[in-house]
């Protein structure tokens, strides 16, 4: 494949990723959000595969595979399992109205494009819109965490922003060293594990969502 | 500049002041009596009083400490020592430096301080009240006095009274400026306060409403009281002497020998007499001020002194 085609593909994938991100933000049902994250991970895996074919970098294949298996399948499944475990209300409870969140999201996207626009000469060094897309997805994931009540939606947001980082890593740097990628993913898994444990423990001790606790203040 | 005054002369002047002190009081009393169409006691009455007291025994409050007997001694000593600093018959600095106007004020303040402290020794309300009032007036008087001294000293460049007098010279009346008039006015305002007379204090009564100085003497008796009275007479004449030295050192003629001494003494007596007369006039033509009006009264003096200073310095 020629680098132009690769670049266009990556750009399209980036656009799709942004779309999934918007879906996550707009999701009214926790399950929808989880599905969107899974889709996002899938797209990233595809991006990895594309880059792998383009650059012939075998590491990228591995990474794509790991991403697919862990982030597109395992973690979503875990999240679904947790949702079933603590039979919480399935609706996403926003802290601020969806419209406001969307407006903020727009601001974030605009800011990140403006930012990478200012880079100028670096743009060709960086493949297409990968950087602004990566920045926006990362920030938007955090935005979701900040504007959604339940712990689960926060975990979803966290994974989303991790996806953003992964995408940037792949697209911008043609993949980081394999060992590092693996370590990163392992850490993500561990973090998810610990968070799940915490969520469940709180649910078991006091019947409340851990993200709603606000006794420590001042 | 006139010659220096030998130590003997200084001491002579001091003794002269001590001896003349009661006389001034006597004169003032006599004048007051005449102004009030009374016969009045003779001008030597104060001497009789003092001598009589010296012959009497002492009744001392049983609560007093040993310090109480020392008070009259120290007060008298301090006041008389202040007398040594006033040039009486001749201008010019003493042959051996002794003290200046500040020292004089300091010694008088020492006497006042000891009197006030002593008044508290016996306990009881009268002494305390007298001391409290005396020590209320004194701090208000002292800055004004200081400014008056300043206003003349700035011109002369010294605070030594003999030198100040010499600096003014014999032709003082021609040398008077506005500053001197104002300063003298301030001094006139202060005089009753310094000498404990109407309108600030009333030397004749022990009524707790009026008394300042007398209240402090209430517990003293016999020779002690005599010392205190002698001290207050001396204090009065010393104050008058200070005024005359500051403002019209006439008669401080530079004539050596006995003649000069007599001339000087005569001139001094004349000046004191004048000042005494106006004290008597003031005292018999005014009523005593309410105690808390006194600060305002002294305020007048303060303003005069301030203007005097301003005129001198600006």
């Amino acid at each position: 494949m020629s680098s132009e085609t690769v670049q266009t593909i990556i750009d399209d994938l980036g656009a799709l990723l942004l779309f999934t991100m918007i879906l996550i933000i707009a999701a009214r049902q926790i399950s929808h959000a989880i599905h969107s994250v899974a889709a996002q991970s899938l797209l990233i895996a595809i991006a990895g595969a594309v880059l792998a074919t383009a650059t012939g970098n075998t590491d990228l294949w591995v990474i794509a595979g790991v991403t697919l298996s862990i982030k597109a399948i395992v973690l979503p499944w875990v999240l679904h399992w947790v949702v079933r475990q603590l039979n919480v209300r399935r609706e996403v409870e926003p802290v601020i109205p969806f419209s406001a969140t969307l407006a903020l999201a727009v601001a974030v996207v605009v800011m990140s494009f403006h930012l990478s626009a200012s880079l100028g000469s670096v743009r060709q060094a960086i493949t297409g819109n990968a950087l602004p897309v990566g920045i926006s997805i990362t920030l938007l994931g955090v935005l979701v965490m900040a504007t959604r009540k339940t712990a689960l939606t926060q975990m979803v947001g966290l994974f989303a922003s991790e996806n953003g980082i992964f995408f940037t890593a792949m697209a911008v740097t043609k993949g980081m060293p394999l060992i590092i990628e693996i370590g990163v993913i392992l850490d993500v898994i561990l973090a998810a594990l610990v968070m799940t444990i915490l969520v469940l423990r709180v649910r078991s001790t006091v019947d409340a969502d851990i993200a709603d606790l606000d006794r420590l203040r001042g | 500049m006139t010659g220096e005054r030998p130590l003997a002369l200084v001491l002579f002047e001091m003794i002269l002041l001590v001896l003349l002190g009661p006389l001034v009081t006597g004169v003032i009393q006599k004048l007051k009596a005449l102004l009030q169409c009374r016969q009045g006691a003779g001008i030597l009455q104060p001497y009789h009083d003092i001598i009589k007291l010296f012959r009497k025994g002492t009744v001392q409050a049983d609560t007093t400490s040993g310090f109480f007997q020392l008070v009259p001694v120290l007060v008298l000593a301090a006041t008389v020592a202040a007398g040594a600093l006033v040039p009486v018959v001749r201008a010019g600095p003493p042959a051996f430096p002794l003290g200046d106007a500040l020292m004089l004020l300091g010694l008088l303040a020492l006497a006042r301080f000891l009197t006030a402290v002593g008044a508290l020794d016996a306990g009881g309300a009268f002494g305390g009240m007298g001391a409290s009032r005396e020590m209320t007036i004194a701090p208000l008087v002292e800055p004004v006095l200081m400014m008056v001294v300043f206003s003349t000293a700035v011109a002369a460049g010294t605070t030594e009274l003999g030198t100040l007098a010499a600096h003014r010279g014999a032709s003082w009346i021609l040398a008077w400026r506005g500053a001197d008039f104002l300063g003298f006015a301030a001094m006139l305002v202060l005089l009753p306060a310094e000498t404990g007379r109407i309108p600030v204090d009333n030397p004749d009564t022990h009524l707790e409403l009026t008394m300042l100085h007398e209240g402090m003497l209430l517990e003293h008796s016999g020779p002690g009281l005599a010392c205190m009275m002698l001290a207050s007479h001396t204090r009065q004449i010393v104050t008058l002497g200070l005024v005359s030295a500051l403002f019209f050192p006439v008669g401080l003629a530079d004539v050596a020998g006995v003649v000069g001494l007599l001339l000087g003494a005569g001139g001094f007596a004349a000046k004191i007499l004048v000042l005494a007369t106006c004290l008597a006039l003031v005292e018999s033509s005014y009523a005593k001020l309410r105690f808390f009006r006194v600060p305002q009264y002294l305020g007048i003096g303060f303003v005069c002194a301030l203007m005097a200073l301003a005129l001198r310095i600006l």
Partner: protein, 700 residues
């Protein structure tokens, strides 16, 4: 003496000996494991030895060649600064002041601590011993420091040690609060000092004073003045200059009395040392006079402190707080002299005589105040440890029970009221002369201002006399008002000895000040590079103090304290003879006259009553706090008893400090209340921070 002074090795050994003694004293606190009393005794003995050594060294240096500076490098502790000691005339003079009082305090201390707090455990005693020695050592070190770092470190050590002493005395809340206020103010001052010093060191690239001087030469006027005012702010906080004085009347009384004596008598002077060091030495221009704003500011704040300090002292009924406020007053008097010296230095015609007189006045008052304020605090201390009462309303009649203390306290009272023939008068006389000279130098408003501050000084003296007539009379005279006073007995001899030492200093400096002038040569020369103090002030021999108000020195004013004292003595003798009366009439004792009623304690004039007239006269400057509790019997018309308490609050405290404190704490409360511990807020802040940072810095 002279060849001793010439021998630098000897002096340095003496200095080392002093340091060693203080160090040993600090270590001797370990003896407290065995016995607290032993630790107290040994620690104070060591302090005494150190003070003696300091006395010797300082006198040695002062009597030596005035221009000389002893320098001694210290071991390298910090890679970025060369530490060293450098002792010139000024340092030696203040070392002398420190040691003078330290001797008395060390004599006085052990007995006082045992008598005042008999229940103190060994731990507290150990702490007090350590702190006292460290305190003395650090004060000495501050004055001898040859570089900024040593100065600042020992300065902080001084603060810390005194803080420990303040809070160690009693562990009730009051001391802790006093200590807190003290530390906070000190810290604020230190911050200003830090900036002033570091701004210099950064220019100089080194910490030692020589380099700082060199760096200061190149400063432009604005920077120079800014630095000076920073330093002045820092030192003024320590010196208790109005309105930075609020900590002083709380902290000083809280400490043990001999420490109060040290804090009031000496520690404040260390701040004065700092001001002089900065103004005339570190920041002084090469050849020009000091910027006129410096001197005038110092003169103004000095005058303000003098008047306000004594006015507030007048309304205190707590003996030690009263004394503390008087420290504010006396620092003001010192600053008047110092400010005048700054104004006049290099500004007058030939000779620069007047600046020397002004500085001499300031320095002399420094040692004088150290002596009589120390004496007074020790006196108050012996009253306190015998009666355990500080409120003079509850005292009275002590003169018959503790005659030594009473007599020495009276001595101190006369001295501090600037009455002849004692030392207070001498320094104030010199100040007046300097002011007079200044007034005749500067015509126009400047001169008038100087004359006015002279008038204020006179007012201060009068008020001080009034205040001490009250303090002494109410405390020691009349009838004992409470059983505490009734039971009082004379203080133990070691304490009296300490007081006698300082009393002797007061008398000596009052009666024969001329002989002390030689000690002032070194500091005046070191600072003003002008004529010696003794040449100017004792031109006519040591018995006469004279000031040539004109440059030529003609028609100078001259007084002789010695002669006046002799005259007083002679007259007193004569009067004593008279007093005994012409015929030996018997002396009868009778009850005090109270219009025929049987006199009781309630007839005695109280301190409140004594000071009331002046309170009304100066009502504008006082902020009163009154509370009246009336116990009524059923119906409000029958009043059983009325309990009244009134207190005069410090205007600065009410108007400035309380407001600031309230606003800051209110603001903090408001902010603290804002924090809802919701995690979404946390995340939002994180995101927002990144967002803003990217916007601010992201685009190069």
């Amino acid at each position: 003496m002279i060849n001793f002074a010439a021998n630098e090795e000897l002096l340095l050994t003496g200095a080392l000996l002093m340091a060693a003694c203080y160090g040993a004293g600090a270590l001797s606190s370990l003896l407290a494991w065995w016995s607290g009393r032993l630790a107290l005794a040994v620690g104070h003995l060591a302090a005494l030895a150190g003070a003696m050594a300091g006395l010797g060294v300082s006198v040695g240096i002062l009597l030596g060649d005035p221009g000389r500076t002893l320098t001694q490098p210290l071991p390298v502790l910090f890679p970025f600064a060369r530490l060293s000691l450098s002792v010139d005339g000024l340092s030696a003079y203040f070392l002398l002041v420190i040691s003078l009082v330290a001797v008395a305090a060390a004599m006085y201390g052990p007995a006082y601590l045992r008598a005042h707090s008999p229940d103190a455990g060994p731990a507290r005693q150990a702490a007090q011993v350590v702190a006292l020695n460290v305190f003395l050592g650090c004060m000495a070190l501050v004055c001898c420091a040859g570089d900024a770092l040593t100065f600042m470190l020992s300065w902080e050590g001084m603060t810390l040690a005194s803080y420990v002493l303040v809070v160690s005395d009693d562990r009730d809340g009051e001391n802790a609060r006093a200590g807190l206020l003290y530390m906070v103010m000190a810290h604020g001052g230190m911050a200003l000092l830090l900036v002033a010093f570091l701004a210099l060191t950064e220019r100089a690239g080194a910490f030692d004073f020589a380099a700082l001087r060199a760096a200061a030469v190149g400063l432009d006027g604005a920077t120079r003045t800014t630095l000076f005012f920073l330093a002045l702010g820092g030192f003024a906080t320590k010196a208790g200059v109005v309105p930075l004085h609020v900590w002083l009347p709380r902290a000083h009384p809280a400490a043990p009395s001999h420490v109060s004596a040290l804090m009031s008598g000496v520690m404040l002077k260390v701040a004065i040392y700092g001001i002089l060091r900065f103004a005339f030495d570190l920041l002084a221009p090469a050849a020009d006079p000091l910027p006129s704003s410096w001197g005038w500011t110092v003169l103004a704040v000095g005058t303000a402190s003098a008047v306000l300090g004594v006015l507030y002292a007048l309304q205190q009924h707590d003996l030690k707080r009263l004394l503390a406020f008087h420290s504010v007053e006396n620092i003001g008097i010192i600053l008047i002299g110092a400010g005048l010296a700054m104004i006049l230095w290099r500004r007058e015609a030939a000779g620069g005589v007047l600046a020397v007189v002004a500085l001499t006045a300031a320095l002399l008052h420094t040692v004088n105040h150290a002596a009589f304020k120390g004496l007074l605090f020790l006196g108050a201390g012996s009253v306190l440890c015998r009666t355990h009462v500080r409120n003079m309303e509850e005292l009275g009649g002590l003169a018959r029970r503790m005659p030594w203390t009473a007599g020495l306290f009276l001595l101190g009272a006369v001295a501090i009221s600037a009455l002849p023939p004692l030392n207070g008068f001498v320094s104030e006389w010199l100040t007046f002369q300097a002011l007079l000279g200044g007034a005749s130098r500067f015509h126009g408003p400047a001169g008038l201002g100087i004359a006015l501050s002279a008038a204020m000084l006179a007012l201060t003296g009068g008020l001080a006399a009034a205040c001490f007539a009250k303090a002494f009379g109410v405390t020691f005279f009349g009838r004992p008002r409470t059983p505490h006073a009734e039971r009082a007995t004379e203080a133990p001899p070691s304490m009296v000895a300490g007081m006698v030492w300082l009393g002797a200093v007061c008398v000596a400096l009052g009666v024969a000040p001329g002989y002390a002038m030689r000690l002032l040569d070194a500091p005046t020369v070191a600072l003003l590079h002008g004529p010696k103090a003794s040449v100017v002030v004792t031109a006519r021999g040591p018995l006469v103090l004279s000031t040539g108000l004109t440059a030529s020195g003609t028609d100078a004013t001259a007084i002789s304290m010695t002669l006046v004292a002799a005259l007083l003595l002679a007259l007193a003798a004569i009067a004593w003879v008279l007093r005994r009366g012409f015929r030996r009439a018997p002396r009868r004792a009778a009850p005090t006259w109270t219009c025929g009623m049987t006199p009781t304690v309630r007839f005695d004039y109280t301190a409140t009553a004594f000071a009331k007239p002046l309170r009304l006269v100066f009502a504008a400057l006082y902020h009163l706090r009154r509370e009246v509790i009336r116990e009524t019997a059923g119906t409000p018309y029958v009043v059983r008893r009325i309990h009244y308490t009134g207190e005069v609050m410090d205007l600065a405290e009410m108007q400035i400090y309380h407001r600031v404190e309230r606003s800051i704490s209110g603001l903090s409360q408001a902010i603290g209340a804002r924090s809802t511990g919701r995690i979404h807020g946390y995340i939002a802040f994180l995101l927002g921070a990144l967002f803003v940072a990217l916007l601010l810095f992201g685009v190069g």
